[in-house]
């Protein structure tokens, strides 16, 4: 079993989820509240990372991140090391291809919030931030949870983009998904099965734990 790859995957998934959550809430909330002409187009744009095959998306991201592109050059200038084939590069790619999962459920949750509840908060003198923190966020929480679970699971399983942008470097960019993939490629079925089983059991435990806690909370408070 390749524990370092599992650790790396979890680290990546955790970071991705943690960073995407506020981004998803921000974008989802904006899309739910605002009406603007190009809104449908923005919504469609957000779904696009799903449409390309991951390896192909990875290839284009590789082009965009690499030292020959402006983005890559700026990054290298600021941070002092290349973006591609680094954990940071993986993370950035991961953020991009998980965007649809992070935004959509949150947007829907915000859309189904009754308007008068926010208005009531304002009339009670609650600032926008307090309204968000104490009223809106708890009420859209299940949507955020969906977004988080989808993002987390999808990051664990993704390997096309990761392989391309990260380069399968053990201990640095080799995730558990790639590691299992390597085993399958090498016809090491038993090792692959073992690793898959561990990954599945682990993910199952994590996700069901999240749901159990959430369902507890809701059966206590119904929200």
């Amino acid at each position: 079993m390749d524990w370092s790859a599992l650790a790396l995957s979890l680290e990546l998934a955790a970071w991705t989820t943690a960073i995407l959550m506020p981004i998803g809430v921000l974008i989802g909330r904006t899309l739910a509240r605002r009406q603007f002409v190009a809104k449908s187009l923005v919504e469609a744009l957000i779904a696009l990372p799903l449409v390309l095959p991951p390896t192909v998306l990875g290839f284009y991201l590789l082009v965009v991140f690499s030292g020959t592109s402006p983005l890559g050059q700026i990054y290298e200038m600021l941070i002092g090391r290349p973006l591609v084939f680094s954990f940071q590069g993986l993370l950035l790619a991961s953020l991009i291809f998980n965007l649809p999962f992070a935004v959509q459920p949150v947007q829907r949750a915000f859309e189904s919030l009754p308007g008068d509840i926010r208005e009531a908060a304002w009339c009670c003198g609650m600032s926008s931030w307090r309204t968000f923190r104490s009223i809106e966020f708890p009420l859209v929480w299940t949507g955020v949870l969906s977004a988080m679970v989808l993002t987390f699971a999808h990051t664990l399983g993704e390997f096309g983009v990761v392989l391309m942008v990260g380069g399968n470097i053990p201990g640095e960019t080799q995730t558990i998904a790639i590691s299992i993939y390597d085993r399958v490629q090498a016809l090491q079925d038993q090792q692959a099965a073992l690793m898959s089983a561990i990954l599945l059991v682990f993910s199952f435990a994590t996700i069901s734990l999240i749901y159990i806690i959430n369902n507890r909370r809701r059966s206590r408070r119904e929200y």
């Binding site: 009531a120 304002w122 609650m126 009223i135």
Partner: protein, 371 residues
């Protein structure tokens, strides 16, 4: 759009769409103004404009020296900055929070203990002790409404906006809350705008009453004035007055000072209104309590004034009172109501179909020129 009124809340709203508005009123500090009007006349919309939740096309909302809204100057203060306490018609409680937390959450940044204490106080004020930990969906309609009322007071608002705040509670609780409100008013000295459909409530609580119809404010004044001397037959109808008829002024007399009115083959003596020129068609009203029965057992005072005959067509016992409708001269187009103590009705053997004579007390007749 300017006003010389200072102090209190000044409201002047105008728009054509989507909801027609042409309303104007003033509510001084410590004053309670009640908005009345039929369902859909724009009462909630006006409260929303004051709170800053709706922005009218044209308008001015000023509290003391501060303009909250001035469309001419492009001023539009955010709702959070307006320091209003509002009870929404549908309560708009926070569904995920307990009754207590619905209140603590709006209390500023003092300590948790402090906030809970204050919230408990407020819940006690509205008779909800013991239900602090219930969420809105575990409360009955009236209990929810009372949480909303408590919440509106939590931030010590400068202006209180109440949209039918007692509509879902029983009369005993309602009376208690009305008393609390009256007490608070004296104590806190803020303008209060109250929407209610209960005219008794309006009369008990209000310093001023503003009558709305299709978004337009028709008349504002002391409730007793509005209900006894409405400006028009429309206002009379809107504040629920019965005994509304048409007639024509024929003359004015100076000794005693009375005005003579022609109505259904009668000539009625009325309260003196010299400003109405003879020949002018008017609407007129008389309160049921100013219609005096000519008793069989003994004459009462005032029987000289405007005697009218008719037949009883409706006889409803309400508590200890009897509400009687008679058709004047058997004419179903002229239904006249009067109220009597039930013991008087009983002693005079009144009942459906009986013929009676009544007097319309002259000083109770109010004339309203027709446009």
């Amino acid at each position: 759009m300017n006003t010389n009124n200072t102090g209190g809340l000044h409201v002047h709203l105008e728009q054509a769409t989507p909801i027609y508005l042409d309303a104007q009123f003033h509510c001084a500090t410590g004053e309670l103004i009640v908005l009345v009007g039929p369902s859909g006349s724009g009462k909630s919309t006006i409260l929303r404009c004051i709170a800053g939740l709706t922005i009218p096309k044209q308008g001015l909302v000023r509290f003391n020296e501060t303009a909250w809204l001035d469309t001419d100057l492009g001023i539009h203060l955010a709702p959070q900055k307006r320091s209003v306490g509002m009870v929404f018609q549908h309560y708009a409680l926070f569904p995920h929070l307990s009754a207590l937390d619905n209140i603590t959450v709006v209390l500023g940044e003092t300590s948790r203990v402090h906030r809970e204490e204050r919230a408990r106080e407020l819940l006690e004020l509205v008779n909800l002790q013991g239900l602090e930990s219930r969420r809105p969906e575990e409360l009955s309609g009236g209990q929810q409404q009372r949480v909303a009322l408590a919440r509106s007071l939590a931030r010590d608002p400068d202006v209180l906006l109440l949209d039918e705040p007692f509509s879902a509670v029983d009369q005993i609780t309602r009376r208690k809350l009305q008393l609390e409100l009256a007490r608070l008013r004296q104590q806190l000295k803020m303008p209060i705008v109250l929407v209610t459909h209960d005219l008794d409530e309006a009369c008990i609580l209000a310093d001023r009453m503003c009558v709305l119809h299709h978004g337009r404010s028709l008349q504002a004044g002391a409730p007793a004035d509005v209900t006894s001397r409405p400006d028009s037959d429309l206002v009379a109808r809107l504040v629920g007055l019965t005994n509304l008829f048409d007639g024509e002024v024929i003359d004015h007399k100076s000794e005693p000072k009375i005005t003579l009115l022609c109505w259904a083959n009668h000539t009625l003596e009325c309260r003196h209104r010299p400003e109405i020129r003879p020949g002018q068609p008017v609407s007129w009203i008389i309160p049921p309590q100013q219609v005096i029965l000519h008793r069989r057992d003994r004459p009462s005072r005032g029987e000289r004034e405007n005697p009218v005959h008719g037949v009883i067509r409706d006889f409803v016992v309400l508590g200890g009172d009897v509400s009687i409708t008679m058709f004047v001269e058997d004419n179903p187009d002229l239904p006249l109501s009067l109220t009597l103590s039930s013991h008087v009705a009983y002693r005079n053997h009144l009942g459906m179909g009986e013929h009676i004579t009544v007097s319309l007390l002259a000083h109770g007749i109010h004339l309203m020129p027709q446009r």
